[in-house]
């Protein structure tokens, strides 16, 4: 990979890694009496390792051909592999935390292995490790293709991708050591948050610079969704993580907000992390890879624009539906509920747009598991956005809140929508990127599809049942007007569903492992598609690669 960088770029990379390693050293020394020091050492080794990898090849041959005639796909490839790695790790953690709720002794006795510490490893690992890497990698691919331009820069894509993974590593290892802000989906402490801001700003600059190079006047709509993802996540991240560190030699910090304001800020963040990390970005994926794989243009481009603005505008208001019947002022709760219900319109417009694109190509959906991944993802997107709007209604929320129904809803979205669209896109992308004739085994893709679908269905149904039962048990009164069930009674009733949930998760994890195996075997075993040129091939169907006529 180094051969695609010039010596000047390699030097630039070495400079950046050296500065980062120095920062790691400072963190390690400052935090020597605190778990933060461990993160300093990890940063030092991470950056130092990269420094030597680049340094080793500093004076290797430089690229000879004109780089602007081709796309730059190396960071995309690495991003896809990292995404699959995180998928296996984080989903494995998910199965473990699920099993702990069914059989609490599986926690063993270590301090680091309790539910409270490994649960954020699962959530952050899946959202940021698996989802984030997939988003970054596919955004690199999509922005280049739709702009008909090469990435702007050769160092900054690596900086964004690897810097983001350093953040993920610090986050996940921090939870195990007990470093957390306790803000759900924003748990990492102040130094990791600052680092993410630096990485994220570079990401935005890279995106803008690449778009500025584009050879089409119009920016394809998938890029809009990716842009919204980058911009709004930056805004959310910065505001929600405002905090004062107790000391610069320790990890602990205290949020700038308290009580009601903190709750509102946190769920403004929390819900829009769902909106802009787990929806907008992945819709970008959908709007590119679904038409591409189906070989049909999107059903209505106008509708995709309308639903884009609908989603960007409506979602921001919806966060307060996490706070129904709490100490947050009533009008804020009502606003949150109203917008959550209105949100159904752009959400279903997007899901419908995706399915209408496939209308007339059902034969392809039947035969091609990759396309089926995307189709089912769109269906689950429609289902879980409907469920979300429904659960945001105050009366429903009074039952569903605090129960497993919420967990089921999140997983219908995360497994059924986010993970399936990602796996579908990865299966579409891998043969193109590595210029292989096809995936190593289409049968394994089928296996993955069915395991993922069965796993999702088992999981979601188990959580629907347990959540509704739990919610009803909590509010049931005896005839004499006393509560009918103790909390423990409701917990006992959950056990079979917790077992079922673990099984569903295990199915899904098995699918992900098969997927990772299939991708690795595709790279290692499948024949290169004709010439090994730096020119991207025309399609994954195995046609000869033709250099562009200039």
């Amino acid at each position: 990979m180094m051969e695609r960088l010039t010596v000047a770029e390699r030097q630039q990379a070495m400079l950046i890694t050296a500065v980062l390693a120095l920062a790691g050293l400072i963190l390690a020394i400052a935090g020597r009496n605190d778990p933060m020091g461990v993160h300093g050492w990890m940063t030092l080794f991470f950056a130092g390792g990269l420094f030597f990898v680049v340094g080793n090849a500093l004076y290797a041959a430089e690229p000879t051909e004109d780089r602007t005639t081709s796309y730059y796909d190396d960071p995309t490839k690495v991003g896809i592999l990292l995404s699959l790695f995180w998928a296996v790790v984080a989903m494995g953690m998910g199965v473990w935390v699920a099993a702990q709720l069914a059989w609490p002794d599986l926690r063993f006795d270590a301090a680091w292995s309790s539910f409270g510490r490994i649960r954020p490893v699962h959530t952050s690992g899946v959202i940021f490790g698996f989802g984030g890497n997939a988003l970054i990698a596919t955004s690199y691919h999509v922005m280049q293709r739709t702009s008909r331009a090469r990435l702007a820069g050769h160092v900054s894509p690596w900086f964004v991708l690897l810097g983001f993974n350093l953040f993920c590593i610090i986050a996940a290892s921090g939870y195990l050591m007990g470093i957390t802000q306790s803000k759900e989906y924003a748990e990492p402490e102040w130094y990791a948050d600052i680092w993410l801001v630096i990485v994220w700003v570079s990401y935005f600059v890279l995106y803008m610079r690449t778009l500025a190079r584009r050879n089409e006047p119009h920016i394809y709509v998938a890029n809009w969704y990716y842009m919204a993802f980058i911009l709004v996540v930056a805004m959310l991240h910065i505001v929600n993580n405002l905090a004062v560190p107790a000391s610069f030699s320790a990890a602990k910090s205290y949020s700038a907000f308290s009580g009601v304001q903190d709750a509102m800020t946190q769920w403004w963040y929390g819900h829009n992390a769902v909106a802009f990390f787990l929806t907008s970005g992945f819709l970008g994926m959908l709007y590119y890879f679904l038409p591409k794989r189906a070989e049909r243009p999107i059903y209505s481009y106008r509708l995709s624009i309308l639903s884009f603005w609908g989603i960007v505008f409506f979602y921001i208001w919806a966060g307060s539906h996490h706070l129904h019947y709490t100490a947050v002022p009533q009008w804020v709760q009502t606003l949150g509920m109203t917008f959550s219900v209105m949100l159904l319109v752009p959400s279903w417009a997007s899901a419908g747009n995706a399915l209408m694109t496939l209308n007339g190509a059902w034969g392809k959906v039947r035969d091609d598991a990759t396309l089926r991944f995307m189709m089912v993802a769109a269906v689950f997107y429609g289902l879980s956005t409907f469920e979300g709007s429904f659960m945001a209604v105050r009366a429903v929320n009074s039952l569903s809140h605090y129960t497993d129904w919420t967990v089921g809803h999140v997983h219908a979205g995360a497994m059924g929508w986010v993970a399936l669209i990602t796996f579908g896109s990865i299966y579409a992308l891998v043969p193109i990127l590595w210029r292989r004739e096809s995936m190593y085994s289409w049968k394994l893709v089928e296996w993955h599809f069915w395991l993922a679908l069965i796993g999702t269905v088992i999981y979601v149904f188990a959580m629907w049942n347990s959540g509704i039962i739990q919610g009803l048990m909590w509010r049931t009164y005896t005839e004499s007007g006393t509560l009918a069930y103790s909390f423990t009674d409701s917990l006992v009733a959950m056990h079979p569903y917790y077992v079922a949930r673990t099984i569903g998760g295990a199915f899904f994890l098995t699918g992900a492992i098969i997927g990772a195996f299939n991708v690795i075997m595709t790279i290692r075993r499948v024949r290169q598609d004709t010439h090994e040129l730096d020119y991207p091939t025309k399609s994954e169907a195995g046609e000869p690669a033709v250099p562009v006529a200039e």
Binding site: T68, T69, Y71, N215, Y220, A222, P297
Partner: protein, 56 residues
Amino acid sequence: MDTSYETLSTIAKSFGLFYLIALSIGITIYAFCPSFGKRFDKAARSVLDDEEGPCR
């Protein structure tokens, strides 16, 4: 703070409504503006065959 919670929230709420209306009108006009029709069609088709490398 001089401004009371009451006034602040009233301003916020009414402003939000007007903003919503203005934004939806603006976007509908943009999306259905006839002169963009060709451009949108072209964009929709553009992703189908884009593996030939950057155009120059």
